[in-house]
């Protein structure tokens, strides 16, 4: 029964380091990839917040040791590394033109979180900006499934 199910795996069996065939490169974007980029934006927001928090606690003229021992800063860099890995994994199964603009959600998380963490002021302009980005990203995502 399982064997009779239509399974599409030939793309996985593509020869290593072969240039992408039109079929592989142009398949529609998978939901899994959209989920991975979504996760990427959360990790990216964490990276930005950690780095801002870390740089705020640095002395005036930090040496290399002060940078390396600054835990939030190091954690921020680590988040950027995870961020890149997630993005590449997402890009394996989807269009760059769909997945890349989703990264703009990072602005949304940072704008929502920084008033809580850094007591940045909240205002209507930021709220409108967040709303527009969410609508724009949803539109691109929805368009990729249409």
């Amino acid at each position: 029964m399982i064997q009779s199910a239509p399974v599409t795996v030939p793309t996985r069996a593509a020869p290593e380091h072969a240039p992408p065939t039109a079929g592989r490169a142009n398949r529609p974007t998978e939901i899994r990839s959209i989920g991975l980029v979504f996760l990427c934006t959360l990790v990216g927001a964490a990276a930005q917040i950690l780095m801002k928090y870390g740089t705020g606690r640095l002395p005036a003229n930090p040496g290399l040791a002060a940078l390396a021992l600054n835990l939030p800063l190091v954690a921020g860099f680590a988040c950027y590394a995870v961020n890149t890995v997630l993005l590449v994994l997402a890009l394996r199964r989807g269009h760059l033109s769909v997945l890349y603009p989703i990264i703009a959600l990072t602005y949304v998380w940072v704008t929502i979180l920084s008033p809580r963490i850094f007591h940045d002021p909240v205002n209507a302009l930021k709220a409108v900006g967040v709303g527009l980005i969410v609508i724009g990203v949803s539109m691109i995502g929805a368009g990729s499934r249409a």
């Binding site: 992408p20 490169a25 890009l91 368009g143």
Partner: protein, 117 residues
């Protein structure tokens, strides 16, 4: 706060370099055999990461002077370049959702930049 022209050029350069980082990551991702470890052995992915790092140097350099209101939206122009490259290099289709969605994102980033003044 007035934004020097040099800052705008630097941030624009950052967005341009960064968009090629995205292209290199995508080209690398398309050629990856299964298995997460291959990710660390692909020169295209290494080049993409290098371009991202390189672009962030320009970005930080640009942000030293000038207002976020002007510079933030310039950064997000990277999404526009990437849309063109994805059509040029990967033959991905344009559709009205992508164009309209991207326009909304740019205006949204502009608003957040204005709100951060």
């Amino acid at each position: 706060m007035t934004t020097p022209f040099s800052s705008m050029v630097l941030v624009l350069a950052a967005s341009f370099i960064g968009s090629f980082g995205a292209v290199s990551l995508k080209a690398g991702a398309d050629r990856l055999p299964p298995g997460i470890l291959h990710l660390f052995r692909s020169w295209r992915i290494a080049l993409g990461v290098a371009l991202f790092l390189f672009s962030s140097v320009f970005y930080l350099w640009g942000l030293k002077h000038g207002s976020l209101t002007v510079l933030y939206p310039l950064v997000s122009l990277g999404y526009v370049w990437t849309l063109f490259w994805s059509r040029l290099f990967f033959r991905e289709p344009f559709n009205r959702f992508k164009v309209l969605g991207l326009a909304l994102i740019l205006v949204g980033v502009l608003f957040i930049g204005l709100g951060n003044r």
